[in-house]
């Protein structure tokens, strides 16, 4: 054993004072950095365990989104769904849209159930809770890469050439993941105290897809709906990455920047809420 005095001291105390938002952010950074090994190993564990002993193995990652768009493509081809004027083949449009929407929903879902799923680790180890809450995100980044590969094949199939800006796509979808993570962190702590909050919120949130250009262009006639779509930050967070892939032209750079800011502010609030509440979580898991 080396010299005792040099060792780090961890302090757990009844927190009388309230953390400032900046302090929460700092703490989050420090704790995530400290537990980077854990996040990595848990990711590898979940990833490998998820695919072993499955008939189609890693192929699932590719198959799931393709099956997902099939129903929309079917509706569009029969004329039930009129997605509007997209400028690109509908399967490509809906594939990109649902993929990005999926990123939002799944980052929200994995972060919000992260604590409950890892309840055993929360109770038995001293890994910072925020790290356990966000371990699931690793999988999302992986899915993102696979989806991108599938997309390239899809584009090839329709004989479309992606814009060179496509390499920025992972960066362009970051804000929507950030948004999902922010909401997820808030749900994680509230949801572990009152279990049904997460479910209720996610269900209601699904409705937001209909005021967002995910499976159709959402160019409504109604002026009210029109302004809802216009003020909906998700509109930009989904349209912009799609434009980056297809044309490389961003139609609403200002809207996108504003929406990105909203996303980061929500993450910031989520982290802060998480740190304010997390002490109440362990005993209620």
């Amino acid at each position: 054993m080396d010299n005792n005095a040099s060792k780090t001291v961890r302090t757990y105390e009844a927190s009388g004072e309230i953390l400032t938002p900046l302090a929460s952010l700092q703490l989050a950074y420090r704790e995530l950095f400290w537990s980077r090994h854990v996040i990595w190993h848990l990711f590898v564990r979940d990833f490998v365990a998820g695919f072993r002993q499955k008939l189609l193995g890693y192929f699932w990652v590719v198959l799931t989104p393709l099956i997902g768009i099939a129903s929309f493509v079917f509706m569009q081809s029969t004329g039930i769904l009129n997605p509007g004027n997209m400028g690109i083949p509908y399967p490509v449009y809906v594939y990109i849209g649902t993929t990005i929407w999926g990123l939002l929903m799944s980052s929200m879902a994995v972060v919000s159930v992260g604590l409950i799923n890892n309840a055993d680790l929360v109770m038995r180890t001293n890994i910072p809770t925020i790290s356990l809450a966000v371990t699931g995100l690793a999988n999302i980044f992986y899915n993102l890469l696979v989806n991108l590969v599938v997309l390239l094949f899809l584009l090839l199939f329709f004989k479309l050439i992606p814009s060179p800006w496509v390499i920025l796509y992972p960066l362009a979808v970051l804000p929507i993941i950030v948004l999902g993570m922010g909401i997820g962190l808030f749900l994680a702590v509230v949801g572990s105290v009152a279990r049904d909050v997460t479910g209720i919120f996610t269900t209601v949130f699904t409705l937001a897809m209909y005021i967002t250009p995910v499976v159709y262009t959402a160019e409504f006639e109604h002026p009210f709906l029109r302004s809802v779509v216009q003020w909906n930050p998700l509109t930009y967070l989904i349209n912009t990455p799609r434009e980056i892939i297809v044309s490389g032209d961003i139609s609403a750079p200002f809207g996108y920047s504003l929406a990105t800011m909203v996303a980061f502010i929500l993450l910031f609030l989520g982290v802060h809420a998480f740190y304010l509440i997390k002490d109440k979580v362990a005993e209620r898991l």
């Binding site: 780090t8 009844a14 090994h37 038995r124 509230v190 005993e283």
Partner: protein
């Protein structure tokens, strides 16, 4: 190690819980609301329906020291351990931990059944605060310690439970923590592996690891710890040498055994309330019954010296049994008999009026008081039940019987340390002697009871 620096320092640590889930959720949501609005929390006070799971615990533990924590279920041991491990945030007070904390409660944490033992070591090791490189370096040692050999690459869902636990223990122990937190984990694996665990824990202790062991096993506490806590209702009731802790724990268990039997009996009595109170049944199968020729109305135990009714005696302390009987019919050749039950054994001894030199050839109707002086009882510390039977020499059945007429606890004494076996009930005064066998002598036992000379 060279400097006397604390490894753990706890000051006024308290933690409260809500009694019901609903209440806990209500308070939880209210606390969350308050926190989000930036209100100060009053976590140091109890609200309705809350209780202290850990109350005002403070201590310092130095490197190389081992603290044993004992207490009956629900006394707050595990909660305290979780606070020390940073799982629960204390509601009052402060805990400081210096260095890496290896929690054996985390042994096997995060194991995924589909992964091989080796893959799981990485996950579990990371959860214990090891970096990937550190785990690389420890891997061979871990495999050897867990005695897994080539099975390390087998998915652990195919492991036997022993292999699983051995692997978990190996990772936790070999991470050479500065502080080791253990919650009843020593009873794993076969005897050789358990021996290895003890050896390893003691080796860590010599190397300067500070150890906290929570256990119900006096043997484990005595083997590893220097000092300890006896906890009750969240507080530290006894803080001292392990012997005192083990005595206090054992006494508490005895008291609880008495209390729970009494409660059970009362519940049964309340249930049977419908069938009259004073009337006794002329059949076996109840706690009290008989023919009605004679009944006993009360059985008391008294401290021999003071004459006060009491239900706790010190080890070897003499006591007095006092029973009031009401003889309804004149009786011949009356036999008064007490039997005593221990927790796990019935009728460990009998005290019979005839045997003890009180023949009762003819007893007239009327009320009597029986007194029995028990001179040098050698019951080991524990809980005991006194039963009463009244019969006649010429009649082979009971005129009256009463199971559980009285209950008492024999407490540990400060002079002797009777830790060896909780199930043992009688203590025999003996003299031990161990002498080497010399080459000439033929008839010397190395292990003899009594005076061999």
């Amino acid at each position: 190690m060279n400097e006397k620096l604390w490894a753990i320092r706890a000051q006024g640590v308290s933690k409260k819980f809500g009694l019901t889930l609903r209440q806990s959720m209500k308070y939880g949501l209210r606390d969350i609301g308050g926190k989000l609005l930036g209100r100060q929390s009053h976590s140091g006070e109890l609200r309705e329906g809350e209780f202290w799971a850990v109350k005002d615990v403070g201590f310092e533990l130095f490197s190389g020291e081992a603290l044993g924590i004992m207490g009956v279920n629900g006394c707050g041991k595990t909660t305290l351990l979780r606070i020390l491990n940073g799982v629960y945030a204390p509601d009052a007070g402060r805990v400081q931990m210096r260095g890496r904390v290896g929690a054996l409660i985390a042994a096997g944490a995060g194991f995924a059944p589909m992964l091989s033992g080796r893959e799981n070591v990485y996950v579990n090791g990371a959860l214990l605060g090891l970096s990937t490189e550190e785990i690389d370096g420890l891997m061979d040692e871990i495999v050897a310690f867990a005695e897994l050999g080539q099975f390390i690459d087998l998915p652990i869902k195919n492991y036997s439970s022993g292999m699983y636990v051995r692997l978990g223990f190996a990772v936790a122990a070999l991470s050479s923590p500065d502080i080791l937190l253990m919650d009843e984990v020593l009873a794993v694996g076969d005897l050789n592996f358990q021996k290895k665990c003890f050896d390893y824990i003691l080796k860590l202790k010599r190397q300067g690891t500070a150890i906290i062991l929570v256990s119900h096993s006096p043997g484990a506490i005595w083997a590893i710890c220097d000092r300890g806590f006896f906890m009750d209702k969240g507080g530290v009731l006894v803080d001292g040498p392990v012997e005192d802790i083990i005595r206090a724990y054992d006494d508490q268990n005895s008291r609880n055994a008495v209390a729970s039997s009494t409660q059970f009996e009362q519940a049964v009595a309340a249930h049977n309330d419908a069938d009259s109170e004073d009337q006794i049944d002329p059949e076996y199968g109840h706690s009290k019954g008989g023919t009605g020729d004679v009944i006993c109305t009360s059985v008391k135990l008294l401290r021999a010296s003071m004459g006060e009714a009491i239900d706790e005696f010190s080890f070897k302390e003499s006591f007095l049994i006092e029973a009031d009987i009401d003889v309804k019919e004149p009786l011949e050749e009356l036999l008064l008999r007490f039997t005593i039950d221990a927790v796990h054994y019935r009728f460990i001894t009998v005290i019979d009026s005839y045997e003890q030199g009180l023949p009762l050839p003819r007893v007239k109707t009327g009320k009597y008081c029986i007194q029995v002086q028990v001179k040098t009882p050698n019951f080991r510390p524990g809980a005991y039940t006194l039963n009463l039977g009244i019969s006649r020499r010429n009649i082979g059945v009971h005129l009256f019987y009463w199971f559980g007429a009285s209950r008492f606890v024999v407490k540990h004494s400060q002079d002797e340390f009777l830790y060896a076996d909780n199930n043992a009930v009688m203590h025999l005064d003996c003299e031990f002697n161990l002498s080497p066998v010399s080459s000439q002598s033929t008839k010397v036992s190395p292990f003899s009871v009594g005076d061999p000379y």
